[in-house]
């Protein structure tokens, strides 16, 4: 039994170098600030620019919360991150899902540089295997059930 990966393709109006940079160095600019792991909102999201680097958020007081790590760092064409955030939105070193992003340069109809971004979040079966953690998070408002309810509200609204 395997869970299909989440796959998205989008085209952005910038060359791959910029698309890669905004995805990584500029993550705090586009990441929804409601989704933070620490007690306080983050002021920055850091993807260390090397394979093996850390991926973490940092709040205004300098406190850091790990999100995962960098598995492949190949600017401007390819990035693979280990997303180690569990169903109840906390870091779990035992959990590893992968996010792979590929950036391919193209030319738009007006001759301007564009980038095709191929995004994939895979390895989602790891969530199903987390029986103990799933149990722990089912009952709590901030847990899996709460997350799903919040999602349902948003989807229905």
């Amino acid at each position: 039994m395997s869970t299909d990966p989440i796959v998205r393709t989008l085209t952005v109006a910038a060359p791959p170098e910029r698309a890669f940079e905004v995805f990584t160095a500029g993550m705090a600019r586009w990441w929804n600030g409601e989704y933070h792991l620490g007690d306080k909102p983050f002021v920055d999201v850091v993807v260390e620019p090397r394979a093996g680097g850390r991926w973490y958020e940092r709040d205004a007081e300098g406190a850091e919360c790990t999100w995962g790590r960098v598995l492949a760092w190949e600017p401007p064409g390819r990035l693979v991150l280990a997303w180690q955030i569990s169903a109840d939105w906390t870091y779990d070193p035992e959990l590893v899902t992968q996010i792979e992003v590929r950036f391919a340069g193209a030319t738009g109809p007006d001759g301007a540089a564009t980038t095709r971004v191929d995004f994939e979040h895979r390895g989602l079966d790891a969530y199903g295997e987390q029986a103990a953690e799933m149990r722990a998070s089912l009952g709590s408002p901030g847990g899996w059930g709460g997350l799903l309810e919040a999602f349902a509200d948003k989807a229905g609204g």
Binding site: T3, I6, L10, V22, G26, T115, L124, D125, R135
Partner: protein, 107 residues
């Protein structure tokens, strides 16, 4: 076919959540589950059926009993959530790429 709605409905009932929590502890048969819950065995069976239809538990025959365990497809619910999450996030990302960088953010 596991749908997001089915998962949400399945988790909406407190007794059903209790059934699921017990199954999550370890695989076990209906009788054992019923013994640990303040509801009848047929009621537990009914809850298990809903959980199974939602892809949250699965059952296997062991001798004369059916043993229930968590279904890895329960990940389907989280996947549905992440699906939406990435839609929103990648749209925000595309907008950020297409905006001018503030001067202090230039490399």
């Amino acid at each position: 076919m596991t749908t997001y709605g089915a998962v949400l409905d399945a988790l909406g009932d407190p007794t059903r959540r209790s059934v699921l929590e017990l199954v999550a502890e370890r695989p076990q048969p209906v009788g054992e589950l019923a013994a640990r819950l303040p509801v009848s065995r047929p009621a537990v069976s009914q809850h298990l059926r809903v959980l199974k239809d939602a892809g949250l538990v699965t059952d296997t025959a062991v001798g004369t009993q059916r043993v229930y365990r968590l279904d890895a497809r329960g990940a389907a619910a989280l996947r549905a959530y992440l699906d939406r999450f990435w839609d929103d996030s990648l749209a925000a990302y595309a907008r950020a790429v297409e905006q001018d960088l503030a001067p202090e953010e230039r490399p």
